[in-house]
Structure formats: structure tokens, C-alpha cells
Amino acid sequence: MKTRADAIVVGGGIMGASAAFFLARAGRSVILLERGLVGQQASGTNFGNVRRQGRYLHQLPLSNRARDIWLRLPELIGEDCEFLPSGHLRVSYTREQADRIAAYAEDARAYGLDLEMLSSNALRARYPYLSADLVAGCLDPTGGHANPRLTAPAFGRAAVRAGVTLYENSEVTHIGKTGEDFVLEVAGRGELRSPVLLVTAGAWGGRLSALFGESVPLATHGPQMAVTEPLPYRIVPTIGVSTPHVYETVYFRQVERGNVILGGSTRGPASNETNRAAVLPDNFLGQLEQLRRVMPGFAAVNVIRVWSGVESYLPDDMPVMGPSATTSGLYYAFGFCGAGFQIGPGVGAVMAELIATGATSTPIEPYSIARFAR
């Protein structure tokens, strides 16, 4: 059994699996630890939005880097994870919100994200199934969606093929530092050692950072997801309602085999003790109301399943990403606030670059854990 590596990655979600993959490609020996199975929590239960539009401008360079990886998935990891670059459309019910979207489109251009504003007439012409109440839309023709259930596991398998040692069902019970080495106690596996430790443990990341004097106000919530029966493939882009009102915030996408995946409105309760997250029945019924509003044809469709998962959030809606401020050799990438899926492979690439070379060409300063020490 492998007990020592150049780097140990704790947490086998999309961040950890892709970081391990890129580290192995950079020639490092890596152990990837996962307390359950790869990609079971936030990485596997999210909506599957592969979108750049709407992200904070400071996150667009990271998002752009991720997009390049998404486009090369078959070449890099041997499968496409059902990534469909079919566009991402934001729509709004009010002039005021349309102006905000338009302003964002102006600002995003400088970051290489070219968005197309659509009038209500243009919306109707291109997407006749959408409500006539919509006043405007904004299309990112390069956006799209992918299957979250497949993506992190696919990165995990590719990482193993690239030489990573993956231990699933292996919970870290203690971490210490002896000299240059991190020493991890792992249930059922004994002691593992490495000079580099990357924490990509999602909702469980805060417990580990706290061991090194870096507490973060991490909260857990669950997305409120549902899927319809399969229907003829008609809805091409991922579509989301842009609004300042939480209850109006719904989004949906149709997979080529026909099912429509939908979600939005409030977040539900989730626990990093029981690993379970609940779909709130009232929220679900509210989603249906809003979905019928944005696409009246939904009234003729059945939902066959709802689900949630354990996501982690920080109060400033930004992740923790970068080196530790207290401990050399320690790195973090967790707390992606329900918006980590698209940037996931980019996060993996950036963390691998940071660890392998000591620096990264992608700006991630706003996400430093040090911001919570102030």
C-alpha cells in the first residue's frame, strides 16, 4: 500500500479529482483520499451548468481556463461527460434587470466573454416556447451543460490511469505536521505522509483548515433539483431567470435524450454530519409555479424525481482557493458556493500549477483564506 507521495489531496470531488489528475500529469506522485466515493456530494448533485455568464468578473479568467479544459475533455480524460456547448441564456421579466444584464455583457467583453443581448421579439423568434412576459435575454453561445454525475468520477478514473493512487471510503481522522511532512491518520489505512497537502473537501473543508488555525464561516446548504420525464429534444441552451428575487430564480436545461433538469429558488437544509440534504416540498411546488411562468408548456410535463446534495457556502459568496496563510505546503480549494461545477477542472489545473511551480498564471487572490483572518 502506498503511504507516501509528493502530494496528498483530501476530498474526491471535481476539484480534488481534477487537481490530482493534473498533478500526476505534471509528474508528481499523488494520493487522492475520498471519505465516500468520488463525486458523490456537491460535484455529483448540482445542476450541471457549464456557464461563464453571470460569474463575478474577477472569476472569468479562471472560468475561461476551465472552458478550454471542458472543450478538450475527450482528449484529456477519454470521455465527454455529456458536455454539450449548446449555449447559456439568461432571461428577465423587468427592464431594470435587463439593464443589469446588459451592463454585465459590456463589462465581460474585456475578459473575452462575448454575450449577445436579445430583445423580447428576438427571444420569441428563437425560443418560441418561452413566456411572452420576458422583456430581454442574454445569450452566451459558448455556454452549455454537462452531466455532474459522470464528471468527477471520470476525472477520478483518468487520475488513476495517470498514476494517482485513489483511496475511496477512506476518511481522514487526524492531520499533523512533523518537520516538512504532513502526517494523515486515515481510517482503515493507517498513516500517510506527504510534504504537500491539498484540501478539496467541500463542506468538510472547514474542519480541516481549522486544524491549521484557519477557521472559515462555512455553511452547508443543498440545491433543490428535479428532473422531468423524457421529451422530444427542443430546449437547446441552458436557461435561467435573472432576477433579484430568490423565489423567481429558476433554471433548466434539456439533455439530448430528452429529460429536462430543473432547479432554483431557495436552498434547502444539508448536513455534513449525516451527508444528507433535503428537497423542501414547498420550494419544489414554488419552482413549478415559476417554471410554468417562464415556459408555459411545462404545465403539460411530469417531474419524475427530485434530489439535493451537500454544498458549502461562504458569506461573501466566494470560494477559498490558494495557499494556506499559516502553513507551508498546505493548499485549499473548497467552499464553491453552489457555483463550482464549470470552474472545477480549471480549479484543478490552477491548484496543480500552483503546487508544481509555486505560482499560477490565473488570478485567484480574492479567494485567499487569509481574508477570514482579518
Binding site: 466515493l37 458523490q40 455529483g44 454525475r149 459522470l150 468520477p153 478514473r157 422531468t228 420525464e229 433535503a278 428537497v279 423542501l280 416540498p281 414547498d282 419544489f284 411546488l285 414554488g286 413549478l288 409555479e289 417554471l291 410554468r292 411545462f298 404545465a299 403539460a300 410535463v301 411530469n302 417531474v303 419524475i304 424525481r305 427530485v306 434530489w307
Partner: protein
Amino acid sequence: MATSGMRAVVVGAGPAGMRAAQTLVAAGIRPVVIDEAGRSGGQIYRRPPEGFVRDAETLYGADAAKARDLHAMFDRLRDAIDYRPDTLAWNVAGDMLHVVTDGVADALPFDALILATGATDRLLPIAGWTRPGCYSLGGAQVALKAQGCAIGRRVLFLGTGPLLYLVAHQYRKAGVEVAAVLDTAPFAAQVRALPDLMVRPGFLLRGASFRAGLQAAGVTVANGVVPRAIEGGREVSGLRYRIGDKEHHVAADAVAMGFHLRSETQLADLAGCPFLFDAASGQWRPDADRDGRSPRAGVYLAGDGARVLGADAAEAGGRLAALAALADAGHAVDAGELAALRRRMAMLDRFRRGLATAFPWPADLARSVADDVILCRCENITAGQLRETASAKGAPELNRTKALSRIGMGRCQGRFCGSAAAEILADARGTPLAEVGRLRGQAPVKPLSMATAKGTRP
């Protein structure tokens, strides 16, 4: 503790649900009774729509008197209960049951939730089973009972379990040509089960008379059948099967198939009831004591939805579950009645063991399904895709397999494919059946229209 204010909800209006409601009413409670069907009766005592004229003898045969009594009893209860037909219980969250009636949602708070959700056919894939003309045994029976329709002109009955012979008998009596009755269980198993089955001589005799009647009418009735393929083009034309080393073929334009029954346990799962693996049947069931009391406070289980013991046990189980709920709420219950019901359940449980011996689930048949056969009908996933997910993608248990392959992810949520998927996965992984686990229930329990409107809150 005062019981008059006890909020009791019964899900299901078959024999278990009806008896539970009656017992609660007798104790001064006004329960809500949720019925997915338009009329009470459940599956076995299903009533045809209003205006249909066939009498109870035609519909229920030897059970006509029982059916008439139950229906009359429940009709008399109507003013004493809050009966909600055509209502889907789609979710349980906390101590609230979520239902939809006529497109309007409602949330029912409960102190006691009695789940009498019944069972559906246990199925396994056979090459060609997705052809039009293939029905489940239960489906074939419902068509006849509720609508007076047969599933074909010359119908083949395939599978195992008491329902196989009963439905074949009912079809023959209704004037439908029975192509054959093909039982996967060896005849020796049925002989071996006799000591347990003898606890209900009348029931045993009736089963034997169905078989004898079919044979006397010239119908092939065979045991130890290994089905090979349901053949045909766009429709069923027949079945190729084997007995021992000998290949056979029988022509038919419809197939009714089922391998005994499986409990409907999704609501118990959503309510948070713990589940146990039952090695005898190879199935998981919600844990409950002998009265139907689950370890999840306030949730009780009755009838075939808890364990498949049949209609008579469902009546006793419905009473017991209601008495358990009443006792837990501080109500005095009749110790004599409780003891008598428990004795009856113990006897019926021995009969259930006999049935399990006589009509074993053909696990080997499920495990040997060819790679190209569609296993998950909703999502169009083959047995081969499941095996590939188990090996190449390393899925160790059913929910992971579902996530990676879509098996059991469709509108039936694994009701059709779940039993066989567990066998194939366990076989591919080389692990005991219990270790591959069970598909977790997810709301909505049945497909829910997106037109569903928020209802009034209590």
C-alpha cells in the same frame, strides 16, 4: 394523553388501509384516508368504475363475500373519515404527508401515519419483454377486473407465484384462450412447501383446483420452465423456453408475467424508516415490529407494503397497525383482540414462508440475462451496460450504479428493474446480494405534473 385530537393519516384503501381506518374510527378518531384509485378496494378488491354491472361473484370469485363485506364496511365509514380518492401521496417530509388531488397539492400533518401501500409485480427481464403485448400479471388482472378487458386473444402466463395460477384461471373463466401456464419454480419446491402451506388448507385447495381446472381444459401447465425469449415482430408471437434439456415453443399474442410480488416502500423510505434485508425473499423491507410499528416514531406499516402476506393478512395487519398507533397515543386497546390478531398473523406468516418455498424468486434467471437485453425499460439500459458500470466504472452498490448508468433512474424508479439489477450487480461484483444495497426512494413517489398548484396550508 388525549387521543381525540390525534391526527391519523392512512395511505391506501385496500384491505389493510380499510381495516386500519375502521379501527381508528371505532376509537373515536377521524382519519384521513388517501387512495390513489378512484374507488376503494385496493388491487385485490378493486372495484370497476361506477356503472359497470358485473357482480361480486364474477369479479372476485371465491372472495366475493369478503369483498362485499369490506366494501360495505368502508362505504358505511364514509362520513366518519376524510376519504380522498384519486389522490397521490407523493412525499413525506418531517411529520407532514404531501399529497396531490386533482392537480392541487396539500400537506397533511400527522401524529400517526399508517402506510398500507400494497405491492406490485416483481419482474425480471427476458429477451423480448419490451414487445407490445407483454404485461405484468397484476396489470393483466387489473385490466380484467376493472375494465372487463383481456390483454390478448391467446394469453401466455409466465413466472411464478400464486397469482400466476389465479389470473390464468380468471382469464379462462372470462372466456380468454390460455396458451399455457409456465412456472419457473420446480414442482418439487411446491411439494416441499406443503407442510407450511397446509396451515391454510382452503387456500391451498383453491390453488390446486385452479391448476387442475386449467389442465382439465387442456392447458399446458408446466414447472421448472426456463424462458429463453419472447418472440415476435412488433407484437408478441410466442415464447421459446426450455424444460431440462428440451426446447419448447408456445404461440401467444400476449404474455402476462410476474415473479411473485414486491412491496411498495417508497413512502416508508422517504419517512425515514430503516430497512432490513430479508434473505428469504432477497428483498429489503422497512423494519417493523409484529404489529407494524416502525422504529421511526409515528410511522406504521400494514399489508403487502410492509411484507407480502396477502389480503387476509393485510386486513389483520391494518387492524394491528391502527391498534399500535392508538396504544402509542395512550389509548386503551383490547388485549384479547390484539392477541388474536397476532396469532392470526403468525399463522399467515407461516403460510408466507410456504409460498416463498413453493414459488422461489429465480435469481439465476435474473443473473444470466444476456448483455443485449434491456433491463431498465424507462431509461433503455441493457444488462450489459449495468455489468460494464459494475466492472469498468467500479460501482460497488446500486445507487452508485444508478448515478453512473441511469439504471432505475426513470419514471418507475426501479420498480420494474430493481430486483434484477441487484442480482446482476451482485453477480458482476462477486458480492452477496445484501451488499449491493437497494435503490433509495426519491420523491415524487409517482410522476407528478408540473401543473400541480400549491394548495391551502392547514
